[in-house]
């Protein structure tokens, strides 16, 4: 395990739309180990959904492939890493602009949501080399929460 990682899960699946909801559920359930509010869990759900949807829709636009979701738990910090070995992004700065999309049917809001809903967003990508999205989030309230 990387330094300071207390627990983690690693999920891999083919780029089938059915798996977007499965990935969301996994990340939300794992995230419950930290004192996130329900609202924060909903934000994590959206950010995960956007990252995994992008891997499937954009990364594997030409041919299917594998998506990897790794979730690391640190002291009071959640790290989500979504990776594909798809087409990659030419210009990350351009792709990150609100409303920018290479798909005319889409809104260009995925990266905006990831950035807004998580504390930190990092994208590592190059044409033909696939894409790696890393997102971090800490619970905002430090008060104890009663877990089920």
């Amino acid at each position: 395990m990387p330094d300071g990682v207390k627990n983690y899960v690693h999920l891999e699946f083919p780029s089938d739309p059915e798996n977007v909801g499965v990935a969301r559920v996994l990340v939300a359930s794992f995230a419950a180990q930290l004192d996130f509010t329900l609202e924060e869990i909903d934000e994590i759900r959206v950010a995960t959904s956007e990252a995994v949807s992008n891997a499937i829709i954009h990364g594997y636009v030409h041919s299917p492939g594998m998506v990897s979701v790794r979730v690391n738990l640190y002291e009071n910090l959640l790290e989500i890493i979504v990776e594909d070995q798809g087409v990659g992004i030419e210009d990350i700065a351009l792709a990150s602009q609100p409303s920018f999309s290479t798909d005319p049917e889409r809104m260009g809001l995925g990266l905006v949501f990831m950035d807004s809903f998580m504390d930190k967003l990092e994208i590592d990508s190059a044409p033909g080399r696939g894409t790696r999205v890393r997102m971090l989030k800490s619970p905002q309230q430090t008060a104890g929460r009663n877990r089920n």
Partner: protein, 112 residues
């Protein structure tokens, strides 16, 4: 996801439930398109989201697509009962600036 439609005069009420994402968006689009194509007279598309538990940008995209279709025929889209846990993506997207939202179907129907 659940998509129930009901024609009320010149309005089409669509009661949605479940998760609206890239998996379910095509079904959502198709069921609404079918009804809109069958009834050219419909001028208000009322989307009741009371039972919707999740929406992401793929979900918003298909709502915006319906908005464009309705605008083409001089009609409108109205959102009803958007639950708190999905409200944030609507707010962030700015979609509330072009699509009005209401607390109840009755209210939307009155203004349809």
């Amino acid at each position: 996801m659940k998509v129930e439609t009901q024609k009320v005069g010149k309005a089409l009420v669509v009661r949605c439930g479940g998760e609206l994402d890239m998996r379910t968006a095509p079904q959502f689009r198709q069921e609404i398109e079918e009804k809109l194509n069958n009834f050219e007279t419909i001028l208000s598309l009322i989307l009741n989201f009371a039972d919707v538990t999740f929406v992401d940008s793929s979900g918003l995209g298909v709502i915006l697509g319906r908005y464009k279709k309705m605008a083409q025929r001089g009609g409108q889209v109205m959102l009803v009962s958007v639950p708190p846990q999905v409200r944030k993506v609507f707010e962030l997207s700015g979609i509330f600036k072009i699509i009005a939202h209401y607390d109840s179907e009755q209210e939307a129907l009155r203004l349809a």
